[in-house]
Structure formats: structure tokens, C-alpha cells
Symmetry: C2
Subunit: 403 residues, 2 copies
């Protein structure tokens, strides 16, 4: 928790990863983020991983630090309350982030009638109005065909929902840009972001579209090799696996010193008639170069390799399982200031990250747990919407709100 975005309020109607992660980022940066949900929870309320008792880690981890407002979204009165919540407040309010179908009463056009300078960010599946999820988008752009071992042509889906993460942060950038624009001009607006377009744009930004268009070449699978320079996984004599990389000239000279194989590399250069000072040549000769490195790693224990690589300032890192990461790595402990121990109701006490960036103008406080569903319904109705205790009680009695 860092209060850099104090004074910003975002109302969120969301589910799954991209939209909730956008809001969670803001909440951890000090914004007041209010997620509204149906009284029984949204479609992501039980999303796996879950505890033995079916409480969702996923939901808790993606909604940290927010306030929760539980309301019957089918009822006219519930919709009125949400409309009011989205459009209330002065400079602080009037920002709505959503990946729900932004139609009818939740459309920008409709909400704008209640607040002219509204900022509404809508995350959609694709530009045609279709549904898209991280996995379908990933299949579309081609990564599964170029991911995985070179001796196996089955496409490999990624497990990290990278496109959802990217969409979440592009959504946050969009909202901050629109809020800056509103601050400078007074003008609100609608921002639309399609998950599929996030992936399509990335394929261009990373050179894939140019490569096919101009070179007329398609990149094949290169297994665990880094593309275009030197990098691969190696196994040590005592069975540990590590990733070793040499992209820059410094990394390449450091690696040769670490392994003591400068002479062998010189001989290989002479034999092939190429200069390994150029990163592309290292890539082209990757199999031969990796054989030399492998002869070293397979004959040497991890601790000696680690020492040699560190002493020569090489770029490398060990492979870990998620369990090793969580249980043994000091970077996932309170030694790392981005983490703090949090008691998450219904789930338990575990280590929770704040935002990874550190602002020198803001003190870092521990992470705040996710709310329980509807935990802040009453305070929001009272403080933000100005309802009396009696009116709030009546809304509960009528089943329009909960919490």
C-alpha cells in the first residue's frame, strides 16, 4: 500500500483478471476502489485456486485493498444506487472501470446523462463484440506454435495469463491518461480496450509482424533458446537447472571467463569463420556454443557454477518450482519490502504482495486484504450516497443490498 494515488476514486464492475487487476493496482496505490457485485458474488467469486472450503485465492488476491458493495443488479433500485455511486463525488469521483457488458443502464451514453465528465473504461473481448479470453487470444496470435521443445510440434498454451495482465495495466494507463486529460480540460470520455487488440499490438511491438511482412520468414520453435542471442537452460553435475544468458558484450565476455572457455570459443569462431562479438552470430552458432557450456555445467556442481557466474557478473538464474519459490526463496518473504503478511478472512494468514514499484515520496505500508463481499455496503450508502440508517436498513430488508 502506497498512497501515491490518494484522491482518486474508481468504481468497478468486473470479473476475472484484467479489470479486477487494474482496480487492485489502483487500490494498492492509494486510490479508493469500490467493486460492486451482485449479492451472491460475480462469476469469478469461486474461481480456482480455492481453499478446502471453496474460498477463492484468485478472487482475494485480485481484489486486495478494494471496498465491496453488494447489490441486486437486476433491481431498478439497485441499478439506481450503482449509477449514483459511479457518478457521485467531485473531482474524486466519476471514474468507472468495467468488463461487464457495458450496455443499457451501464453504457457510457446512459451514465453520462448523470455526469457529463464521466470517464468510463470498458474492457471487451475483441473489436467485433465477441468473447475472448486469454487462452483464445493466445491461440490466435501464434505463441503456442512457437513455444515448447523443438522435438515436439504440439502447440503449448502458456499458463501465465499474460494477455490479461497486459490488458489490466494498459487499462490502468488509459484511466490515468484520461484522468489527466480531464484534470487539464474538464472533459470526460469513454475508453475502450479489447483483450485481442492488446495481443495483436504486442505482436507488432515485438517485431513479429515486421519479420513476417518484410523478411517473409516465420520464426520456428527454438525450444528453450533465447531468440537472436545466446541463452538456454543447462543442468549442473548435481542436477540443478539454470538459465544462462549472454545478450550484451559484457555478458558474453563474463560468461567466457566464468566457464574458462575463451580458448574453445576462439577456436570455434575460427572454425566457423564468424565473430561471436555479434549477438546474432552467437545465436546462429548456438548449438556448438551450448555444447561447450554444457561440458562445463554437467561436470560442475551448482555452487561452483554459481560462484563463477556471480564473480563474473553474468546474467543467469536458477529454475525453481513454485513451491521452492514460495517456501525457500528469500525474495518471497518479508525480507522483500513488497511483501507483507496478511490475514485474509475465510482463507488464512499468508504472504501478500503490494505493488512492485517503490515511490520515494510515499511510505510503503503493508498490503490490505480483499474485502468480504458487501463488507462496505453500509458505509458506502451512508457516506458516499448520503442515505440515512433507516433508508439503509430498508434496502437490506428489501434484499436490494447486502453486507
Amino acid at each position: 500500500m502506497q498512497n501515491i494515488l490518494k484522491g482518486l476514486r474508481v468504481v468497478e464492475g468486473s470479473a476475472f483478471i484484467a479489470a479486477p487487476m487494474c482496480g487492485m493496482t489502483f487500490a494498492q496505490l492509494g486510490a479508493d476502489v469500490i467493486r460492486f457485485d451482485n449479492i451472491t458474488g460475480g462469476v469469478d467469486y469461486r474461481r480456482w485456486p480455492v481453499t478446502e472450503d471453496n474460498h477463492s485465492f484468485y478472487w482475494a488476491d485480485l481484489n486486495k485493498g478494494k471496498r465491496s458493495f453488494a447489490v441486486d443488479l437486476k433491481s431498478d433500485r439497485g441499478r439506481e444506487l450503482v449509477t449514483q455511486l459511479i457518478t457521485t463525488g467531485g473531482e474524486e469521483g466519476g471514474i468507472f472501470s468495467t468488463n461487464l457488458p457495458a450496455k443499457g443502464w451501464l453504457s457510457y451514453e446512459s451514465l453520462k446523462n448523470h455526469r457529463e465528465d464521466l470517464i468510463q473504461l470498458a474492457i471487451v473481448g475483441d473489436r467485433h463484440g465477441g468473447t475472448a479470453l486469454d487462452y483464445t487470444v493466445n491461440a490466435k496470435v501464434g505463441y503456442p506454435h512457437i513455444t515448447g521443445p523443438e522435438d515436439d510440434n504440439r502447440p503449448v498454451n502458456h499458463v501465465l495469463p499474460a494477455w490479461d495482465n497486459i490488458a489490466a495495466y494498459l487499462a490502468a494507463i488509459s484511466i490515468l491518461a484520461a484522468e489527466r486529460h480531464r484534470r487539464l480540460t474538464g472533459e470526460g470520455q469513454k475508453v475502450e480496450l479489447a483483450l485481442a487488440d492488446c495481443a495483436l499490438a504486442t505482436m507488432g511491438h515485438l517485431g513479429f509482424i515486421g519479420e513476417v511482412s518484410i523478411n517473409k520468414e516465420e520464426r520456428p520453435r527454438y525450444g528453450n533458446h533465447l531468440y537472436g542471442a545466446l541463452g538456454r537452460d543447462f543442468v549442473t553435475a548435481d542436477g540443478k537447472r539454470l538459465m544462462i544468458i549472454a545478450v550484451t558484450p559484457k555478458q558474453w565476455s563474463g560468461l567466457q571467463r566464468a566457464g574458462g572457455f575463451s580458448a574453445k570459443m576462439d577456436a570455434l569462431e575460427a572454425k566457423l569463420g564468424v565473430d561471436f562479438g555479434s549477438e546474432g552470430n552467437r545465436f546462429l552458432a548456438r548449438e556448438e556454443i551450448c555444447q561447450i557450456i554444457e561440458a562445463w555445467t554437467t561436470a560442475t556442481d551448482f555452487s561452483s557454477i554459481k560462484q563463477a557466474l556471480d564473480e563474473n557478473r553474468c546474467c543467469w538464474g536458477p529454475y525453481q518450482t513454485v513451491r521452492e519459490l514460495v517456501e525457500d526463496d528469500i525474495d518471497v518473504s518479508e525480507d522483500n519490502p513488497i511483501f507483507s503478511m496478511v490475514e485474509q478472512p475465510n482463507i488464512g494468514r499468508y504472504l501478500v504482495p503490494g505493488q512492485p514499484m517503490s515511490f520515494s515520496a510515499c511510505k510503503r505500508h503493508g498490503a490490505i486484504p480483499a474485502p468480504q463481499l458487501g463488507q462496505h455496503t453500509n458505509e458506502i450508502l451512508g457516506d458516499l450516497l448520503g442515505l440515512s440508517d433507516g433508508e439503509i436498513g430498508k434496502l437490506h430488508d428489501q434484499g436490494i443490498v447486502a453486507g
Copy 2:
């Protein structure tokens, strides 16, 4: 190109993906982004993919829309000019984004002497001062062990540099948050972001840390299955591959209608004694459910499957190779407003993405190519640093600037 961030200037000392992508995002949103480089280019100037003539798509695509300032960074006068460039300007200036070693003259402490309200964003490898790249960070957090076919336990590196992308956008969020803070309070600051911490935080945000900590369970490999609900790749009778997903109740009922296998699913539910209305149960019974779906897909042509899935509003998508994406998919064409045809000097004419989000308050213009190295050196020296033509000529003669 959308001018939502007009009036923002970011000076960038960068290489590779995260920092350049952060600046490129700003440039495509209308900020004036000036990347400075050594006269011969940075360490990423020839990064693959490259053209036949060794011009880098990677460099061009990650520096679209920026201005380029080429300067001898080893010379005192060159360093003076860069310092002046970073700290000049009123409200517009004073933002420095970098992943170069921010030490000595490039440190926040030193630059701050020239401008009290400086905002400096530094992307580093890890919090210990070590080097880290996308591949080493990915190995550290555990994804390679849970990615890839279930019948093969070799770790699988991802090809998408997801952590670099995520770091780029978190860096952009950080700068916008710090700029907002400065606008409201007048105060500048230093922001630090470690690539490794971006990945570590993500492991928490996505539930992996809680899952190991509380459930004491480590997630195994699930191949191409989506985790925790129903989703997998299937091959059609005519050999096309598609990803089919049913996370929400609507997606699940739609899929059953599309394949006409409601009765079979009912029978399977009865046999197993579970309710497939719960997404977790669909995951637990994924092998049996997928057999039923597979019997349909392997016996049916792609076009019929597509029609059935679309008519029932299912969540699905075809797998494509990158070549198919670039050459055959209408979403990678000027039909998609995020793309425009650009003539990139030295490389050629190809389709280039702008930012995927659309701002209703800003017209979208075509993407702007990357600069040639040093293309804007003279205009920056003249207009921003106020040097005369004579002084500029002298700097060229002395080899302190180029372009």
C-alpha cells in the same frame, strides 16, 4: 497515435524491452519522448529480429514515435547536454525514464541538483542490484515447470517476454502516478521498479503464493488445459485446431447446445455424482468431459463447429501460426483501426500497431515510425537546449553529438 498525453515530455535512457516499451507507449499516446543513445547506438540497436541488412525490427518497433538524440555519453560535454535535456522545461519536462545503470551523473541524487521536482523512474534487474532478464525471472518464479505437455517433464520457457511487457506498463503507471502527484503537490521523486519484483508480485496476485502457503499444494502441469474450469485445445475432422473454453455458466450451457451433448453430460454427471454447474467440478472431470467434446470435434469439419459455437455464443478461438495471423487474419490489417501502414526507413513498408485502447476524446492517427539514430539531435539542441547553429555545428565537429 492518440494525443491524450499531449504536454508530457519523457527523456529516456534505455535498452531492450521494458524501458523502451514504456516510452513507446507514451509516445503513441502523444507525449514527447526523447530517447538518447550513444552515437553508435545502444546495446539493443541490432537486436533480432533483423532485416537481411541487419536493421532491427525489434529496435524500430519498440521506439516508434520517439525522437532520437545521439550523443557521446563518455564525454563531459555530452553528459552535460543530457543532464540539461532531462531537467529542462517547465511543467512539461523533468521526467526521466531509464534502465541504464542510474549511477554517478545519471543518478537521481545527482540529477536532482539540477531540478528539484525531477521524476526519475529506474527499472532494475532485482532488488539486490543484480542483473535479471525476462528468461531468468521466469525460471525463478516457476512457470517453466508447469508449462508444456503433461507427458513431458522438461521445463518450457515462454517465448513471449511477458515480464518485460508487464514491467513496461507498470513503469508507465508509475510515471503517470508520480506526474499526477507532482501536479497536485509540486513534489518530484524517484521511483524504482525491479523486473524480478514484477514477476514475484504477479505470483501473489494470481493466487499461486496463497495456494502453496495455505493449501500446502503445488499445482502440477495440466498441459493445454485451462486451470480450474473447462478449457482445452481440440482438433477438427479437417485438421484445424481450436481452443474451447467454458468458465461461466453461460459458456457451459452454450457449449453443450453447440455440440448437442447435453444428454451425455447429464449422464456423466450422474455417473460421477457431481454437478457440472460448478466450474471446479468441470475441471476435476476434465478428461471425461473432453472425451465427449473430442468425439464431436474429430468427427466434424471446422466450418460446422465454428457455426455451432458462434450461434451459441461460446468462448472459443482457432490456433494460428504467426504467418497465418499476419497474412490471413483481418484483425492484422488496416480494417482494424489500431493498425496503420508505415514506411520505416531502412526496413520498408509494413503494418504497425498503435496503442490498443481508444479514447473517445482523441482522434486516432496513424502510427509514427521509429526515428533514425540521432534524427532529432539538431532540433533538440536548438529548440530545447537553446543552442545556436554555430554551437551545434561545433558539437558535431567535436564528435560530441551526431545525427
